[in-house]
């Protein structure tokens, strides 16, 4: 499977990360008198933030999985087996 396919797969993985404060639903509340004068780019920022955060989550898990998939050195596995046999 190519890297692109792998990244697609990552997107669907479970994560424990909660939305950032700015991403929470109440950040999407409808425009009010108070918010009407604010620059539209602030809302764009929130959407950009979500994309970036999703991407960070994927990269973090990809890096970590790469470490997991390196396997465990034999001497460490042997250590556990040896210690668990000791009286």
């Amino acid at each position: 499977m190519g890297e692109r396919g792998k990244n697609e797969e990552m997107k669907h993985r479970r994560t424990n990360l909660e939305p950032l404060e700015q991403d929470k639903p109440d950040a999407d509340k409808p425009e009010t008198l108070e918010s009407m004068g604010k620059p539209a780019t602030q809302q764009k920022d929130v959407r950009l933030g979500r994309e970036v955060q999703a991407r960070i989550g994927q990269q973090l898990r990809a890096m970590y999985d790469d470490f997991v998939n390196q396997g465990v050195p034999q001497h460490i596995t042997d250590l556990v087996r040896r210690l668990s046999e000791q009286d």
């Binding site: 890297e3 479970r14 994560t15 424990n16 990360l17 909660e18 950032l20 404060e21 620059p39 539209a40 780019t41 602030q42 764009k44 920022d45 950009l48 933030g49 994309e51 970036v52 955060q53 991407r55 960070i56 989550g57 990269q59 973090l60 898990r61 990809a62 890096m63 970590y64 999985d65 790469d66 470490f67 997991v68 390196q70 396997g71 465990v72 050195p73 001497h75 460490i76 596995t77 250590l79 556990v80 087996r81 210690l83 668990s84 046999e85 000791q86 009286d87």
Partner: protein, 183 residues
């Protein structure tokens, strides 16, 4: 007394993720393997303090994290800029931690304060709940949440500088964003 094989198997099953956590913390595979080995020695010699049926991964991660922290504090006394040294060890030996494609990400990760880095990894990669991560780090759940949020915000800033093309917005949008949102 010999170790219950079921407990031993739980330990063995946790080792790959425990080691990935160690590499993420140290940025160096040799140091990470030493840390994992020391953790397992300590854990198995105090296996009586593990309550069967409770969370084995959280127990082992707690031991490793505490060992790493005490080593980190020691090194910090020796070397002023421990975080800088971590970053340097990643930069000069990218092959020590894995594939080159994650280099940029790892470099950004290395720039985070240690408490933010560990919180982000535990929750975002090791798969622990915020509650478990708080118990591993010996702090409140709210503290973990705020560390994770600060870590993500900082990483977004660091990564957007170099690879903004990967994140979608076109050049014009970026110019507006960079200009502080002038309309």
């Amino acid at each position: 007394m010999k170790l219950d094989p079921a407990i031993r198997d739980q330990v063995l099953a946790t080792v790959p993720s425990l080691r990935a956590f160690a590499i993420s913390l140290c940025g160096n595979i040799d140091r990470a393997d030493d840390l994992v080995q020391e953790t397992l020695l300590r854990a198995l010699s105090h296996i009586d303090s593990f309550e069967p049926g409770t969370n084995m991964p959280a127990w082992l991660f707690t031991i490793l994290r505490n060992l790493f922290r005490s080593e980190y504090r020691k090194r910090r006394r020796e070397v002023e800029d421990a975080d800088g040294r971590y970053a340097e060890s990643l930069k000069s030996h990218p092959e020590q931690t894995g594939r080159v494609e994650f280099e940029e990400f790892r470099t950004a990760l290395a720039k985070l304060p240690a408490d933010q880095r560990e919180a982000l990894i535990l929750v975002g990669a090791s798969g622990f709940s915020y509650e478990d991560a708080a118990s591993i780090c010996g702090c409140a759940v709210g503290t973990i949440k705020s560390r994770v949020n600060r870590a993500r915000t900082r990483l977004a800033d660091l990564l957007a500088i170099d690879s903004v093309d990967d994140f979608g917005p076109d050049r014009a949008t970026r110019a507006v964003l960079a200009g502080g949102g002038r309309n």
